[in-house]
Amino acid sequence: MTMIHFVLLISRQGKVRLTKWYSPYSQKERSKVIRELSGIVLNRGPRLCNFVEWRGYKVVYKRYASLYFCMCIDQEDNVLEILEIIHHYVEILDRYFGSVCELDLIFNFHKAYFILDELLLAGELQESSKRTVARIVAAQDALVETAKEQASSISNIIAQATK
C-alpha cells in the first residue's frame, strides 16, 4: 500500500517547519535529504508536475501560501492520492487552527505533529474522515486543558498556602 517514507514541510526560504520520518534515516541522511529536496522542490517552476523523481523514489509536493508540503513515496504509488492526502492534512490543520497560516505551524509544530499522528500511522493513511481526526485531537486537547486547570489550581493552592 502507499507507504509514505517521510513528510517534510519547508518554507519558501528553505526553512524546515516539520519533518516526520516513517522509514529509518540517520540524522546525517535526514539533513542530506532535506538539503537535496529543498534544492529540487523550491526551484521548480510553476505549472509543472507536483512530483519529482528522486533517488528511485517519488516526492510529491504542494505549495500552500509560502509553505511546501512534501511527501516521499515509492515509484509505483498513486501520486494524485498523495496530493490529496496532503490537502486532507492541510484542511484538518485549517479546521483546527482556524485559517491556518505558517505562523501557526512555526509556533505550534508539536500540535501539527499530534494531528499528523492521527492522520498517518506507520507511513499509511490511518483515517480519512476529517471529523474523526478532529474529534480525537479535540479529546486530547480537552484532557490537556483539564490537566492544566488542575495543575494551576493546585499551584494556586500551594501559592496561597505558602504566602
Binding site: 508536475c49 485559517s99 483515517e127
Partner: protein
C-alpha cells in the same frame, strides 16, 4: 475546536523560534541552534525542574532535532517523560521519542515497559499514544513483549484504538512477518468492523498479506467487491466523503487490493468487472481526487484479466488525461499508458502526438515518465529513435542517479534490439563517452566480447567490418579529453586485438596511440595495464607476421617506467612486453595468436611440461613435492573451507585463534573456487579483477574446477604472486601450452567468452529480424500511423530526432496545427484550470467543488471576483514591493493598522499565482470579509495572532508577512 492561538510556551522559546525565523543564513541559524543546545544541555540536568518546564525543554529538543542538529543528549529525558502519569506529559514524551528514535535505538528497551503499562490503561487516549509509539519503535525483538496486548486491543470499544491496533499489527507484519502469522484471521475479522475507519485501516495490512500470498485470499474477492460497491454507492457516513467523492481513499485501497487478486485470474476478475465499470462511470474527472480514483481504476484494469469494455473506459480516461493542460494529469496519462501497453500494445499509437509533446516538455518529471513509456514500447523498429533520444537526454542531465538508470536502459535496449553492428558500436560509444563512469563494468566486458565474437552470424566479412569500424571510431574518439576509465579499457583492448588486423593502420601508429593513452592516464593503473597488454599484442602480431617492429622511443620509456612501477601487475606486464619483443615469429604466433580471444583455452591439468624441470630439480637435490593433505594430516582443505562457510553464515564472534593461512602452502588438493581466488590478490589489489575473470572463464570453458588448483600449484612452485607465466626465456619455448594460457589470460580479461551469455544473446537475435512492412516505418516511434495521426510530418520528425533545428521547428508548427485540429474535434474538453495541481494557487481556486470548505463557509473565491479584481491587481503589483518595504521599516504598526495592505503584500510574495487567482486585491479581501463572516475570517484571525505574538514580544511579521497567509486561501 482546538485551542486557538495558545502558544503555551515561554518567552524564551518564542524568542528562539523567532530568531531562527529571522536568521538570514543557514550559518546564522546553526549558530543560534548550537547556542540553544548548550543552554538545554545545562538546564535539562538541573535538579527539580518543574514538569511543565521539562515539557517545554523536550519540545525545544524536538525543535533542535527538526532543524537537523543532534539532540541525543536529551533523548533519555524524553524517555523519562513517557513514564509520567499525566497524559499531557506522556503524550509529549511519546511524540519526542517517536521523532528521535529509530527502532534499533538502545533506549527503546527502556520504553517497552511503559508501553506495556500504557496499553492496559483505562484512558483510551493513553492507549492511543502508546500505540502510536508502538508503530514507530517496536522492533522485531520487542514485538513479543507487546503483541498479546495489541491483539487484545483489536476488540477495544473505541474505534480509534482498534484502528491503531490494526496499524500496529500491520507494522509488526512488515518488520517480521512470522511474528503475526497466527493472527491473520484477525485482519479478516476487522474487515467487517462497524467503523469504516477501522475497516479502511485493515485494508493496509491486507494489501501486504495479499501481495505475498494471493491465493489464500481469493475468497475475499466477493466481500471486497461488495464493500467497494457500497462505498461507491455512498453507503458510508457522510464524514468519509472527500470533495464530494464517497470515501475515495478507501476506494483507492480497495482497487489496489482487487488489482492484486484479479491479476491473471479470470474468474476473480469477472466478479470485479461490474463494480470497476461503475466507478469509471461515476468517476469525477473535474476534481483531483476523482482523477486519483480513475487512475487507480486504470491500474486495476491493467492488472486484472482484460475486459474489452473496461479497457475502452480506461482508454477514454487516458485520452482525457493526456489532453488535459495539467502536467499532473499528463503525467498520469503517460503512466497509465505504460501500464496498459502490456495488454493493449496499440494504445500508445492513438496518442502519438501527446506522447511526443510530453517528451519535449520542459518538465523533467514528465519527460522521464515518457522515457519510461518509450522504454517499455521499444521494438526493433523504433529502437534507433528511442535510444538516440535517451542518449541526448542522458547527456543533458547532471543527476547521476538517473543518468545511471537511463544509461543502463540504453545499453539494454541496444543489446536487445540493435538493428546493425555499426549502430550498436556507435551507441555504446556514446553511452560510454558520457556515462562511462556510471555504467557497470560488465557492460564494457560485454561490448568487448561482442566485438570479438561478432554478431553471432557466421559472416566473417561482417565481423571484420564491425571490428574495423570499431577501431576507426575508437582512434577518432581517443582524441577527446576526459574519457571514462571503463571506456578506455575497451578502446585499448580493441586496439590491441584488432588495431592492425586490417592493415589500415600501421603497428607503430597504434602503439603510439596506446602510449598516449597510458601517459595521459598515468594514475589509472587499470587503463595502463590494458594499454601495455594491447601493445604487447600488437608487437606479437607483427613479429608473428614476420614484420620488423620498431621500438618507439616513447614506448621504450613507458616500458622502463612501468618496470619500476609500484604496481607489481604493471611491472609484470612491462617485463612480459619486453620479453615478447625479443622472441621469434614462431613463439610469438603461439603465445599470442591473432584473433584468438574467443578460442577456448585447453589446459593440461597434469602440467607434463614441467616434468623435465621437476626431474632436473630433484636430481640437483631438491625436496620432492609433498601434497598438502599429506603434510597437514587431519586438517584438510575441505573442512577448512566448510569452517569458513560456517563462519560466514553465523556471523558470530570467533573466540579461538585463526587457522594458519593454508594457501601459502603449495598444494594440489581440491580447493573451492573462492578459496583459490582469495590467494591471488593478496599482493596486489589491481590484478584481482583482471585475473579473476579469465580464471573463472577458463573454468567455465572446461567445466572443471580442479583446473585452477593446478595453476595455483604452478604459481607457488615458481614463487610468483600471480598466475601468470613467468617471462623466463627457458620456460617459454618449453611450454607453449601454458605460456599461451598465461598470457592469453591477461588478454581475455574483459571479453571472456562466456557460454551462457552467448546463448541468451543468440536467443534474442531473431527479434532483430524486421518484417518488411515494419521496416518501412522503422524510423518511426510507433511503428505505424494511427487514426489520430493527421500529419505525416510527425513521423518524419520522429524519424530524424537528431535532425537540425530548422526541421524541428517546422515539425513543431505542423504539430501545433494538428493539435488545434484535435482540439476542435473535442470542444467539450474540461476546463484545465480545475485539474491543474501543478500550480499552487489552483487549489485555492477550486473551493467551488470543495464541500468541506463550503460547509465551513470558507472563502469562495469565485472566478468572477478574481477576474474583477484582476485588473486592479495588475496595476497594484508594482506598488507592493514598496508596501513591503514600508511594512519592513514601519514594522509594528503598519500591518495591523492597514490590514488590506498586508494581504496585498502576501499575495505579492506568492510568485506563480495565475491571473485567475489573483484574488486578494484590496477590493477582494474586503468582499471576502463580507461574504464570510462566520469562519473567523482569516484576516481577523491573522490580526489576532499578530496581536498575540506582539503581546509575547515576538514580531516575526515584519520579516515575512507571508507567515500570516492563510494556507488554504
Amino acid at each position: 475546536m482546538g485551542s486557538h492561538g495558545g502558544w503555551g510556551q515561554s518567552k524564551e522559546f518564542l524568542d528562539l523560534v523567532k530568531s531562527i525565523g529571522e536568521a538570514r543564513s543557514k550559518a546564522e541559524e546553526d549558530r543560534i541552534v548550537l547556542r540553544e543546545i548548550e543552554t538545554l544541555k545545562r538546564r535539562i540536568i538541573e535538579p527539580d525542574i518543574p514538569k511543565r518546564k521539562m515539557k517545554e525543554y523536550i519540545i525545544r529538543l524536538v525543535y533542535v532535532e527538526m532543524l537537523g542538529h543532534d539532540a541525543s543528549f536529551g533523548y533519555i529525558h524524553a524517555v523519562k517523560m513517557t513514564h509520567d502519569d499525566s497524559l499531557l506529559l506522556k503524550r509529549t514524551g511519546y511524540l519526542a521519542v517517536t521523532l528521535f528514535l529509530n527502532d534499533d535505538h538502545d533506549l527503546i528497551i527502556l520504553i517497552v515497559n511503559t508501553i506495556q503499562k500504557d496499553l492496559k490503561s483505562d484512558n483510551y487516549l493513553v492507549v492511543c499514544a502508546a500505540l502510536n509509539a508502538v508503530c514507530k519503535l517496536i522492533n522485531e525483538e520487542t514485538i513479543p513483549a507487546v503483541l498479546p496486548q495489541v491483539v487484545e486491543l483489536l476488540g477495544h470499544p473505541k474505534e480509534a484504538v482498534r484502528k491503531k491496533a490494526i496499524m500496529a499489527l500491520h507494522r509488526f507484519h512488515q518488520r517480521s512477518p512470522s511474528s503475526v502469522t497466527h493472527l491473520l484471521s484477525n485482519f479478516r475479522k476487522r474487515l467487517c468492523d462497524n467503523d469504516p475507519g477501522v475497516m479502511g485501516a485493515t485494508l493496509c495490512p491486507l494489501f501486504d498479506l495479499i501481495t505475498v500470498d494471493v491465493n489464500s485470499y481469493k475468497d475475499l474477492v466477493i466481500s471486497l467487491v461488495s464493500i467497494l460497491k457500497q462505498v461507491a454507492e455512498r453507503r458510508l457516513p457522510k464524514t468519509y466523503d472527500y470533495h464530494q467523492m464517497p470515501a475515495p481513499f478507501i476506494q483507492i485501497k480497495l482497487l489496489k487490493i482487487l488489482a492484486l487478486l484479479g491479476s491473471g485470474d479470470k474468474q476473480a476478475s469477472e466478479n470485479m468487472f461490474t463494480v470497476v465499470g461503475d466507478i469509471f462511470r461515476k468517476g469525477d474527472s473535474t476534481s483531483n481526487i476523482g482523477n486519483a480514483v480513475l487512475y487507480e481504476c486504470i491500474c486495476c484494469v491493467a492488472s486484472i484479466y482484460p475486459n474489452p469494455k473496461l479497457l475502452e473506459a480506461a482508454a477514454d480516461v487516458i485520452s482525457r488525461f493526456l489532453k488535459s493542460d495539467s502536467h499532473n494529469l499528463k503525467y498520469m496519462g503517460i503512466d497509465s499508458l505504460s501500464r496498459l501497453i502490456k495488454t493493449n500494445p496499440e494504445i500508445a499509437e492513438q496518442h502519438q502526438l501527446a506522447v511526443i509533446d510530453c517528451l519535449e516538455d520542459p518538465d523533467d518529471t514528465l519527460k522521464r515518465k515518457t522515457f519510461e513509456l518509450l522504454y517499455k514500447m521499444t521494438k526493433s523498429s523504433n529502437v534507433e529513435v528511442i535510444v538516440d533520444r535517451m542518449i541526448d537526454y542522458m547527456i543533458s542531465i547532471n543527476d547521476n542517479h538517473y543518468k545511471t538508470e537511463i544509461a543502463s536502459r540504453c545499453v539494454e535496449l541496444a543489446e536487445q534490439f540493435a538493428p546493425s553492428n555499426q549502430w550498436f558500436i556507435q551507441t555504446m560509444n556514446k553511452v560510454f563517452e558520457h556515462a562511462g563512469d556510471l555504467v557497470n563494468s560488465k557492460v564494457a566486458h560485454n561490448l568487448m566480447r561482442l566485438i570479438a565474437e561478432g554478431f553471432g552470424e557466421d559472416d566473417d566479412a561482417a565481423d571484420s567490418q564491425l571490428r574495423s569500424s570499431a577501431v576507426e571510431s575508437y582512434l577518432r574518439i581517443l582524441g577527446e579529453p576526459k574519457l571514462p576509465s571503463v571506456f578506455l579499457q575497451v578502446i585499448c583492448w580493441v586496439l590491441g586485438e584488432y588495431g592492425t588486423a586490417d592493415r589500415k593502420f600501421s603497428a607503430s601508429y597504434i602503439i603510439g596511440k596506446l602510449c598516449d593513452v597510458a601517459e595521459a592516464h598515468s594514475n589509472d593503473d587499470i587503463v595502463k595495464a590494458y594499454a601495455v597488454t594491447a601493445m604487447m599484442k600488437v608487437f606479437a602480431f607483427e613479429i608473428a607476421a614476420g614484420r620488423k617492429v620498431d621500438m618507439l622511443p616513447e614506448c621504450q620509456s613507458l616500458v622502463e617506467e612501468l618496470s619500476a612501477s609500484h604496481s607489481t601487475d604493471l611491472q609484470q606486464r612491462a617485463y612480459e612486453l619486453q620479453t615478447v619483443i625479443g622472441i621469434d615469429a614462431n613463439a610469438a604466433k603461439n603465445i599470442l595468436p591473432a584473433d584468438a580471444s574467443c578460442e577456448e583455452i585447453e589446459i593440461d591439468k597434469d602440467l607434463p611440461f614441467l616434468n623435465e624441470y621437476v626431474q632436473q630439480a630433484l636430481e640437483k637435490g631438491a625436496q620432492p613435492y609433498v601434497t598438502e593433505n599429506e603434510r597437514s594430516g587431519v586438517l584438510n582443505i575441505s573442512n577448512f573451507g566448510s569452517q569458513e562457510q560456517q563462519e560466514a553464515m553465523s556471523h558470530s564472534l570467533r573466540f579461538e585463534a585463526y587457522e594458519l593461512p593454508k594457501p601459502q602452502v603449495p598444494s594440489m588438493p581440491p580447493v573451492t573456487l573462492t578459496a583459490s581466488t582469495e590467494v591471488v590478490p593478496v599482493n596486489d589489489p589491481y590484478p584481482i579483477e583482471m585475473l579473476h575473470d579469465p580464471l573463472s572463464t577458463s573454468t567455465q570453458d572446461t567445466g572443471s574446477a580442479e583446473l585452477k588448483l593446478r595453476l595455483e600449484g604452478v604459481q607457488k612452485k615458481w614463487g610468483r604472486p600471480v598466475y601468470s607465466t613467468p617471462p623466463l626465456p627457458p620456460v617459454v619455448p618449453a611450454s607453449h601450452n601454458t605460456t599461451e594460457n598465461g598470457i592469453r589470460q591477461h588478454d581475455v580479461a574483459g571479453p571472456a567468452p562466456s557460454k551462457t551469455h552467448d546463448v541468451s544473446y543468440d536467443s534474442r537475435k531473431p527479434k532483430v529480424e524486421i518484417p518488411p512492412e515494419k521496416q518501412k516505418l522503422a524510423a518511426s516511434l510507433f511503428g505505424g500511423s494511427s487514426k489520430t495521426e493527421k500529419k505525416p510530418s510527425t513521423t518524419s520528425k520522429v524519424a530524424r530526432t537528431s535532425s537540425n533545428a530548422a526541421e524541428k521547428s517546422q515539425a513543431k508548427s505542423s504539430l501545433g496545427s494538428s493539435e488545434k485540429a484535435l482540439e476542435k474535434a473535442l470542444p467539450s474538453q474540461p476546463l484545465p484550470d480545475l485539474l491543474d495541481l501543478g500550480e499552487p494557487t489552483v487549489t485555492s481556486a477550486t473551493p467551488s467543488v470543495d464541500p468541506f470548505k463550503q460547509l465551513e463557509g470558507l472563502l469562495d473565491f469565485s472566478a468572477t471576483s478574481s477576474l474583477n479584481s484582476g485588473e486592479a491587481d495588475e496595476t497594484k503589483m508594482p506598488d507592493f514591493m514598496a508596501l513591503y518595504g514600508e511594512t519592513l521599516t514601519s514594522g509594528q504598526s503598519s500591518s495591523p493598522a492597514d490590514p488590506p495592505l498586508t494581504r496585498g503584500n502576501d499575495v505579492d510574495l506568492l510568485e506563480g499565482f495565475s491571473a485567475a487567482t489573483n484574488i486578494s486585491s484590496l477590493g477582494a479581501s474586503v468582499t471576502i470579509q463580507q461574504i464570510q463572516p462566520q469562519k473567523g475570517p482569516s484576516l481577523k484571525d491573522a490580526l489576532e495572532k499578530d496581536a498575540l505574538v506582539r503581546q509575547m514580544g515576538v514580531t516575526p511579521s515584519t520579516q515575512n508577512p507571508n507567515l500570516f497567509k492563510d494556507l488554504l486561501g
